[in-house]
């Protein structure tokens, strides 16, 4: 079905190549990225499974994007849906009417075979067909674990499995066709603390146990509220998930090629050309889309740029922005993979507990409110940390709420900032000094 759709779409587009349209446009090339999705989702709200807000749900959708290259540097960008072929004349007319001039318009990818990355778990298909009730079983297991092992009674959770057949093609003959099976599980207890599992495979038993134990332990600590014992300049530790969210908000954002080229980033193109030192010399930021069965992995971008492992920052120095073909052309650089996953590589201590030992007292931040509202271009943050633990002499004393403020760029530049590995996360916990207020 998907392949037939792709074949027919390619055929109708090919038929138009080189023909001068009544609009005066002449199609010089095309590319499309098609996803045929089927997914099943089961959820729990207020510890009740499958109520009207979390009804077990099935979804099917065939969609994607198409990009057309016309003569005279004209381009069209449109969404694909299942109805495009039936209503091709209407879409064809629309795409011509919405053609725009772009002197930096990208070239198409020449045919090649992008790296084969294992991304499909056959166990997902019977679940979507309803032959395997694993999501129901796992949600029940999570609920039971949180109640029996940790005495937690209020849980919200969801389990989503997706089967995605992806076809990327262009008019030069580039053709990639593969299947991937993203799986996402999220569990939150007492409206306080949640953790997610996201891979392109079903979870292993030990990963479910980790979800129960991590959510259970942290939530129980966060139920013992104390008054914030100190304010002012204090060490704070961002938990691994919070570090990752900070990296996405402040670092990845500013590494986007379109923002760099348009002077909307904290970094200028000259900074990359001269490989300016912006962070500490032992810090690297890596994009890696090649890890088998990982959530952020893929074979190629919609433009046909191969997946890969690249360093956006090395030795604390800027290496390259994240570049689409258009911005690579405009900036005279090489297109990059998109950051499905990004990894901060920096010397780390062995565990979060090892970080506790480095400071007499600190605030461990497990959740912040308002991160998406921050001005990413400045690196400055001012946030409510609504779920924090106060640690003194290596011992967790209880939950506190605080307002934290500082400069994340300065934290990544400082040699005083410390990092700790996490066996379950891509990115580390991060300790630095910030302003803390009640």
């Amino acid at each position: 079905m998907t392949e037939k759709f792709a074949d027919e779409l390619a055929a109708v587009l090919d038929k138009q190549l080189g023909r001068v349209q009544p609009s005066g446009l002449e199609l010089r090339g095309w590319r499309f990225d098609l996803h045929d999705l089927r997914l099943l989702e089961v959820g729990i709200k207020y510890s009740r499974l499958g109520g009207p807000y979390t009804s077990p749900s099935y979804k099917e959708d065939l969609g994607g994007e198409v990009f057309l290259h016309w003569n005279n540097n004209r381009y069209s960008s449109g969404k694909l849906d299942r109805h495009v072929l039936q209503e091709f004349a209407t879409h064809w007319d629309l795409w011509q009417r919405t053609a725009y001039t772009d002197e930096d318009g990208p070239e198409l990818a020449e045919p090649y075979n992008p790296p084969e990355i294992p991304l499909e778990d056959a166990g997902v298909y019977p679940i979507i067909q309803g032959e395997n009730r694993l999501p129901f079983t796992v949600l029940a297991q999570l609920q039971q674990g949180l109640v029996e092992q940790y005495g937690l009674h209020k849980m919200d959770a969801r389990f989503k499995v997706t089967a995605d057949r992806r076809i990327v093609r262009n008019s030069l003959g580039f053709a990639v066709d593969y299947r991937q099976t993203p799986v996402q599980i999220f569990a939150e207890a007492e409206d306080t603390f949640g953790e997610a599992f996201a891979e392109k495979r079903l979870p292993k038993p030990e990963e479910i146990s980790h979800l129960i134990n991590y959510v259970g332990e942290v939530t129980n600590y966060l139920r013992q509220e104390i008054t914030l014992p100190a304010t002012g300049r204090l060490p704070i530790i961002l938990a691994p998930a919070v570090t990752e969210a900070f990296l996405a908000q402040f670092l990845l954002h500013n590494l986007q090629g379109s923002l760099v080229a348009n002077r909307q980033s904290a970094f200028a193109i000259g900074d990359f050309q001269e490989k300016r030192q912006v962070f500490r010399p032992d810090l690297a930021l890596v994009v890696d889309g090649t890890r088998p069965m990982r959530a952020g992995s893929y074979r190629c971008t919609a433009e046909g740029v191969a997946t890969g492992r690249i360093e956006l920052i090395r030795g604390g120095r800027l290496q390259t922005p994240i570049l689409s073909r258009k911005y690579a052309k405009r900036l005279g650089m090489v297109p990059t993979p998109v950051p499905g996953a990004f990894l901060l590589e920096v010397p780390m201590v062995e565990s979060l507990e090892a970080l506790y030992a480095r400071v007499p007292r600190c605030l461990v931040v497990h959740s912040v409110l308002g991160l998406h509202t921050q001005d990413a271009s400045s690196g400055i943050f001012s946030l409510t940390a609504d779920q924090c633990l106060w640690v003194e002499s290596g011992e967790i004393k209880g939950k506190v709420k605080a307002v934290i403020a500082g400069n994340f760029f300065a934290a990544l530049a400082s040699k005083e900032t410390l990092f700790a590995k996490s066996a379950w996360d891509d990115n580390p916990a991060c300790l630095f000094v910030a302003d803390v207020a009640k």
């Binding site: 207020y46 009740r48 499974l49 499958g50 109520g51 009207p52 807000y53 009804s55 077990p56 749900s57 099935y58 979804k59 099917e60 959708d61 065939l62 069209s76 960008s77 449109g78 969404k79 849906d81 299942r82 109805h83 795409w95 009417r97 919405t98 053609a99 725009y100 001039t101 772009d102 002197e103 129901f136 029940a140 409206d191 002012g232 300049r233 379109s258 348009n262 002077r263 909307q264 980033s265 904290a266 409110l369 308002g370 998406h372 509202t373 921050q374 001005d375 271009s377 400045s378 400055i380 001012s382 946030l383 409510t384 609504d386 709420k401 307002v403 934290i404 403020a405 302003d435 207020a437």
Partner: protein
Amino acid sequence: MERPVRGLTERLRVDVHNDVVERARRVAAELNCGYILRLQDKKETLVNINNGRTEEIATGSLVGMGVQVFTAEGFSGFASSDLVSAQAVEDLLKRAFTLARYAKEAGGEMSRALFGLAPHQERRILPLRYPYGSLGLDRVEQELGAINKELQSLDQRLSVRTIHRLVDEEWRIARHDGTDVVFNTPRAFVYNTFTAKEGQETATTFANIPGSDLAVLLDPEFRQRLMKRSRKAAQLAVALLSAGRIKSGHYKLVIDYPLAKGLAHEAFGHAAETDGMETSILGRNGRMRVGEQVASSIVSIIDGPVEGDYAYQPISANGIPRETVTIVENGVLKAGLADLFSAEAAGVPVTGAGRVESCHHLPLARMTNIRIQVANPYPVEKPFEDLTPADLYELLRKYNLMEPGEEVLYLSGFQGGQVNPAFGNFVFNCSGIYRLGEKPVLYRGAIFSGQILSALQAVIAGLGPIQIDAMGTCGKLFQGVPSSGGSHYFLVLKADEEITIGGEAQ
């Protein structure tokens, strides 16, 4: 071009699916189940101009349907597809029915709320002056290019991104009880993002004009307002380059109406949504605390659909007309934003608050346009866009809302917010902060955080008429739906220990 082109009798694209609606009714009768069928047909265009160059013109469409099935006992399942046909709806109904049976086997939650409703038929089609497709893309691109160019020329340190989005969206909701409603939710905006850069300093601000059609681009009044807002935002971005950081603490505050929308939305609206009442700070044992004093006695909070508004939705995703609700009247909690499935448990009437991002989602109780009204507001003569921080200082002094030498901060420019209704914590962020005085001093924006029940008690005055076109996108439970609202031009809040401006340590 000023002609209503749409009316109640006009046929919409979703009208053609009578066979789908009929088949759903027949199959559901055979299965002995209830259902809510949601048909959606959406077209949209996005134009993105960046520093004078067209970055992208993108078009998109979404045609699809979702059906939520309830067994006679009340177990539910949901299935959706981008295929819209009589056979497809039969397949979806059967699949959703099977999922409902799985829910029963797994000991799932039951709800029979759907079975108590009266059937409803209605068409609510918003007349538009400049609907989707009424203007060539060349002209749209040209108008946006002119806006972008003019704003870019204000200061060489500025870069300007101008985005225009125009959405033509139609819905048809049908139920097993014979309900069949049709409505449209058209929306549009022009949104400017300003980034000022000098050396290693960078600052970003925003300005926008929302509406329901191309008037946001073509109507001279809209254009004038957009440009005034944009010039202010652009000047603010440049000024922020040399601004310092405020000391954290508890201050007497003045917030502008976009921030007041943030306050109403984050600090109160979400907590008033009945699907969260079991843990909301506005609930007790799952029941809404109706009749209790929750705000200053001068404060009222209203939510409801407004024609021409960016977040307009006249009928809920469950096919129930959306009511305008006075949630708080003179400080007293009066009603909730109640959808079909949670109103009864929360002890309040259904108000048609259910909304969805798309036909592939399940409805949640949501806001549309939420606004704060303050009793006996102080008059302000100038339009909001013409007022400066110095003007505001003069107004506060004139109305004795500020003593000479008193420390009062004015927070300007909404940058988004977030709330945890279970704990009553909310935050929102502003673009810049002025310490008011004869010569106001500018600081970088900082988080405004507080406790829901303290924030509205702190409101002591409103200045100016009501303005409710502050737009946003609400992301509750990962579903993005348009939101909007506002208040008087300015609200004054007394200093409160539970309301903190984050910043440098004191």
